[in-house]
């Protein structure tokens, strides 16, 4: 494999891995704090991409405004989901999960009805590529890597702030956090907003590279589940490592195996699960059954 192709695969893998990492971080936050699977995470990601399309191509505004719009809109929608639906599901874990799935379906179907099934393209922010000798790296993918890492770093420092510490406290032990004066309900709303907002902004970020399609929600949700399974449920560092790993395996796998790369992914995954059932870095989370 020549150097140029190797670097191309590397850049692609890191770029897509970064996006998986951001979306998976949002998912893991919600999973860890509220102990629920937000099945609509993929749909928030998709809607973020469509919001970016709407802002950029329909309203003809700046791409940065599109990013902020996606973040805020998805955060708001996440709060709606939490406040009006999840709060009232008393039937148990499965009921909450199915409610999020239903909400995600509503989002997806409404998007399809509004925008139609054609792919929507967003004008790319940067074009061209960097060439160092034989190595060619596409600029937009490099921007993806940059934005992905930027978001992860921002999230990391956010979790060190007072609000972030409150979120981590609720994740650890909800009751004791309450004794410390942390309002768990408020934290849930903020966590949900953050998780969905992250998904939305990822969708907006990736919209110039991959088009805004109706099925991107499903596609990324499968990958997020893989990330969570490999990385360990509820483990943030595990999710990050697993996300980049999956991105790289996907990218290099596509070079060698074409359409079969998903199957290869599954085959890599199964032995890993056999030897480390808790995931790479995670302690398996005790989800209430």
């Amino acid at each position: 494999m020549d150097v140029g192709l190797f670097f191309q695969c590397l850049v692609n893998g890191l770029a897509i891995g970064g996006i998986y990492a951001v979306v998976a971080s949002g998912f893991t936050l919600v999973l860890g704090t509220m102990k629920i699977f937000n099945f609509a995470q993929g749909e928030f990601y998709m809607l973020g991409a469509f919001v970016a399309y709407a802002v950029c191509e329909v309203l003809h505004l700046n791409f940065v405004i599109a990013l902020i719009a996606a973040l805020l809109a998805m955060a708001l929608l996440g709060v709606v989901l939490q406040r009006f639906i999840i709060r009232y599901t008393y039937g148990g874990f499965f009921h909450t999960v199915l409610a999020t799935i239903a909400f995600g379906m509503i989002i997806r179907q409404t998007t399809v009805i509004t925008f139609g099934k054609t792919d929507r393209f967003v004008y790319p922010l940067v074009k061209g590529r960097i060439e160092i000798g034989d190595i060619m790296m596409a600029n937009d993918k490099l921007l993806l890597i940059f934005l992905g890492i930027a978001l992860i770093v921002l999230l990391h420092y956010f979790l060190k702030l007072k609000l972030g510490k409150a979120m981590r406290a609720v994740t650890e032990d909800q009751e004791t956090a309450g004794l410390q004066g942390i309002n768990a309900r408020q934290i849930f709303l903020i966590t949900m907003a953050l998780g969905c907002g992250l998904a939305g902004i990822s969708g907006a970020v990736i919209a110039p590279v991959l088009a805004a399609t109706a099925d991107m929600g499903h596609a990324i949700f499968i990958k997020i589940l893989l990330v969570i399974i490999i990385g360990g449920m509820g483990s943030m560092p595990g999710a990050l490592v697993a996300a980049f790993l999956i991105g790289l395996i996907e990218s290099f796998g596509y070079q060698f195996f074409g359409g079969y790369n998903e199957l290869i992914l599954l085959c890599c995954l199964l032995p890993l699960l056999y030897f480390r059932p808790g995931g790479l870095l995670g302690r398996p989370l005790a989800i209430p059954q």
Binding site: L98, A99, A102, I106, L273, P284
Partner: protein, 321 residues
């Protein structure tokens, strides 16, 4: 669950159904309802063990494609392909879940979802399986010179499958295996402390459920006479979960049947177009989750009180003794 006295009446209605319902389109819907009930009951069996599976569509697909390929490419008779399709699906389930089940219920769920997605991708991408255009010209089943071509004949076929399914599940639920499942469903830790091998019973439940999913998949392939990979999508697995939820999660046999009936016929009666169906189902699910978590059949629990009230009224009026 169903009153024993009612069974013969229900049996007669089921047998005479094609003649009571003279509409071919309605029969088509009823056949779909039966197929979906079988899938839903598979989900319920796995749910009884406190596991959530999101992969019924994938195993349905495995059975369908196995049977279709065996009959079209290898020239096997449908009646042999049917059980082989079930076994293929069961083996596939065994392969994936014997590892995934060790890692816990969340990983089980994730793997069921992932495997179903990958099944659809592989079936679409690989030419041997017909690619995204699917397999065409799958012959209908036949016994001798009689071909199961009409909706009525296919209805009887699927009815037999459904009844066999119900009888087998009922027998299993009443047996030692069923009691072990109930124990696991109540409390996994207590079951383990009692010495029940939770892993083995859960694996058994999964494999049995996927076997029947494969069998009904084979029927589906030969009923529709064509297979398209996009039918077996992730959404279908979600719908299977919805059948169980709408009917009532604690009713393992009747629940999915009621749920499938609701989800097949309600959109028809309300004339809801294809586009809006997922929105309709989603809103229905959210309403049921918030207001009626036990499902439709949980209303039945309130009926005894109703009959007591009615008999009280009857005594007051002097009609009853």
């Amino acid at each position: 669950m169903v009153k024993k006295r009612l069974l013969p009446i229900i049996g007669v209605i089921l047998v005479l159904l094609p003649f009571l319902v003279r509409n071919d389109y309605l029969l088509h819907l009823i056949i779909y309802m039966c197929m979906y009930s079988i899938l839903g009951m598979g989900f319920s069996m796995i749910w009884k063990n406190r596991l959530i599976t999101c992969g019924q569509a994938g195993f349905w697909a495995v059975g369908a494609y196995t049977s279709a390929l065996l009959v079209t490419r290898a020239g096997l008779s449908f009646w042999f392909a049917l059980p082989i399709a079930g076994i293929a699906s069961a083996l596939f389930a065994l392969l994936i879940f014997f590892i995934a089940l060790r890692a816990g219920p969340l990983v089980f769920f994730g793997m069921s979802l992932v495997s179903s997605f990958i099944v659809m991708e592989v079936l679409g991408s690989v030419e041997f399986f017909g690619g995204w255009e699917g397999l065409l010209d799958i012959p209908s089943p036949s016994i001798g010179s009689f071909v199961f071509f009409t909706k009525t004949s296919c209805y009887y076929l699927v009815l037999c499958l459904l009844l066999v399914n119900i009888i087998v599940y009922y027998a299993l639920y009443k047996s030692r295996i069923g009691r072990a499942w109930t124990a696991i469903g109540s409390s996994v830790q207590l079951a383990e402390a009692q010495g029940i091998d939770v892993y083995r019973y859960r694996l058994a439940a999964t494999v049995i459920a996927c076997f029947f999913a494969g069998v009904v998949g084979a029927f589906y392939a030969h009923y529709q006479n064509l297979l398209i990979p996009t039918t077996f999508s992730f959404i279908l697995s979600i719908y299977v979960q919805m059948y169980a939820l709408i009917g009532g999660l604690s009713y393992f046999i009747a629940g999915p049947i009621i749920g499938a009936a609701v989800m097949v016929f309600l959109p028809e009666f309300l004339r809801i177009t294809e586009e809006f169906q997922p929105i309709f189902f989603s809103i229905l699910i959210i309403l049921i989750v918030i207001f009626l978590p036990g499902g439709i059949l949980s209303i039945v629990q309130r009926v005894p009180r109703l009959s007591v009230i009615l008999s009280q009224i009857g005594k007051r009026i002097g009609v009853l003794q």
